[in-house]
């Protein structure tokens, strides 16, 4: 909020992959903005385009396998979508950082972790190796790796999963990027470590005023860390809004189905509600609502293209049923108020 420009603005992003010679869109017109010191959670099941969105923002979807076919990606107000590779290499790791899902394999097994953290600093900040290692030690302290100085000279296999993820976070934060993309950073960790890493991320975010795009399929994690939520399904954002609004009144049937699928400890006799069916494949994407085939509230009109429409303040959903229903609700309350 320091300046008017958001840290990251994605507008109508379209990312395509080539399957058997034809291009199919894996991300279809995704738009969102991310302010400084804000965490947006991108939620959805596997294969819905969350990670592809993040990789597109990093400029890492590249021919021949894939391409960013349309849309703008504005980093600090600057459109970076069509930049040549050399310019991208200057931005990555410096202005925009990424933490990956797999801490066990995201580190080079034959380099010391200190050297790996220092490398980005040497490249982007022009530090000498010893200065970079000194900074790496400070970063290790910051991500709460105990006896940081001694651990700099160790190899990744000497670290536990949680510690490796801290190293990954230290690497991503080394150059103090404006935007951090966290692609399921806690999925591979056990629950107590998850909580520690989430706390650490939230702490670092507010200390550095970073914008964080947090990708997850775990709604419990969302509640813990996010300011806003965007739910993705089949390459589109189907619902977005403040975390409280979405948890209180999920509007899109898909979001509601996600909530219904969370096991609850306080209900002994529950039957877990799996969502029947599958995400439509990239080469068989319907024109209308992509969720219609699995939706319990399917009705006439679902086969038409859906738009994101308001269901509340800053809360939008891509479902004609939900957005009409809330319109009625709004009327109801209006009538109620008159009475």
């Amino acid at each position: 909020m320091m300046s008017g420009t958001p840290a990251l603005e994605v507008n109508d992003l379209r990312t395509e992959f080539r399957i058997a010679g034809t291009w199919h869109a894996a991300v279809r017109g995704v738009s969102f903005t991310l302010a400084r010191d804000e965490t947006l959670a991108l939620v959805g099941e596997s294969g819905c385009g969350k990670s592809v969105t993040a990789l597109s923002i990093m400029g890492l979807v590249q021919p021949p396998q894939g391409r960013v076919a349309g849309g703008q990606i504005r980093l600090d107000g600057r459109d970076v979508a069509g930049l040549p590779e050399k310019q991208w290499e200057k931005l990555r790791g410096d202005r925009i950082g990424m933490v990956f899902q797999e801490p066990m394999t995201s580190l080079n097994p034959v380099m010391t972790v200190g050297d790996q953290v220092a490398e980005a600093l040497v490249i982007h900040k022009g530090l000498s190796r010893s200065a970079a290692l000194e900074r790496a030690r400070a970063l290790f302290d910051e991500v709460k790796i105990p006896s940081a100085a001694a651990r700099l000279g160790e190899y990744p296999h000497q670290f536990s999963g949680g510690m490796r993820q801290r190293v990954m976070i230290a690497m991503a934060l080394a150059c103090e990027p404006a935007v951090l993309l966290a692609d399921e950073p806690t999925t591979a960790l056990d629950v107590t470590i998850q909580a520690q890493v989430l706390g650490l991320l939230a702490d670092l975010k507010s200390r550095h005023g970073m914008a964080v795009l947090f990708i997850t399929h775990n709604l419990g994690v969302v509640a813990q860390i996010a300011d806003r939520v965007a739910v993705m399904y089949a390459g589109q954002i189907v619902e977005e809004g403040p975390v409280a609004a979405i948890f209180a009144r999920p509007a899109h049937p898909y979001t509601r189905a996600l909530f219904a699928a969370i096991p609850r400890l306080d209900q002994p006799e529950q039957a877990l509600a799996a969502i029947p069916g599958r995400v439509p494949s990239l080469d068989a994407m319907p024109i209308g609502c992509a969720f219609a085939a699995r939706c319990e509230e399917r009705r006439a009109g679902c086969e038409a293209p859906q738009v994101l429409a308001h269901v509340g303040k800053a809360h939008r959903a891509r479902c004609h049923v939900a957005t009409v229903a809330t319109a009625f609700e709004a009327e109801d309350t209006a009538i109620h108020d008159i009475r």
């Binding site: 290499e89 995201s106 080079n108 490398e119 490249i123 190899y155």
Partner: protein, 292 residues
Amino acid sequence: MSAVVEAPPSPRVPARRKVLAKARSNPTTLAGAIICLLILAAAILAPWIAPHDPAEQDIMSRLAPPGGAYPLGTDQFGRDILSRLLWGARISLTVSLGAIALACVIGGAIGMVSGYIGGRFDLFVMQVMDVLLSFPSLILGLIVVALLGPDLANLVVAIALTAIAPFARIARAPTLALKERAFVEAGRALGFSHLRIVFRHILPNILPEVMVMASLWMATAVRVEASLSFIGLGVKPPTPTWGGMTRDGFENILDSPWLAVFPGLAILLLVLGLNLVGDGLRDATDPKLRNE
């Protein structure tokens, strides 16, 4: 091999020194290293420790059996076998080291880049390598030496050429697997260029394989050099080479077996030493075994 030595010394991380310490603590590696170092020392010190001039002919004591003034006997021209072995070590080591260093760098780079880029480029490069590989290395060496003429530099080029394809293959296979690993994508996400990823991140990962390969192929290079000398395409006489000496000794193997046996043993010893060192280096560079 050279990469380990050239890596910048690190005040904080004595890992490179640990590799050598680790290798030294293994008795078979130690034995191999001692063999290689002794042969290396013999080659370097040949002018001072050789009891005779390797080309000096003592007609009076032709085909003298081992013992006396000629510890390993003399050949059919009365030249001292021991002195010729010591001088011959220079040729064997220069040719095998030079050829393998050349093949290792060129073949390794071709394999890594090809595997990293992948797709049709990889297919094309690897098929070219397959064509090279389809020639037996002796035949390929023979063609090159016949075209360029038999001298030391051409011998190095010829043997290097025969070893490029295997090095490209041994470098490509792990590169194919490594480029899919998350740390490559994580490196890209940190703004590392493709070149940096290939040579700074993938290379150290495949180095153990390449080094073991290099030690094995150094042994092969010693053998190919000996074979080329054996058929008369090596360094020209009277320069002593182990292969040439073995060939010359063959003519008299029944009545004067030491002529062929000692150079043969020298080749065997060098090949054995190189293999032992290669195995030891592989174990020592494996980070999982490094800091137990």
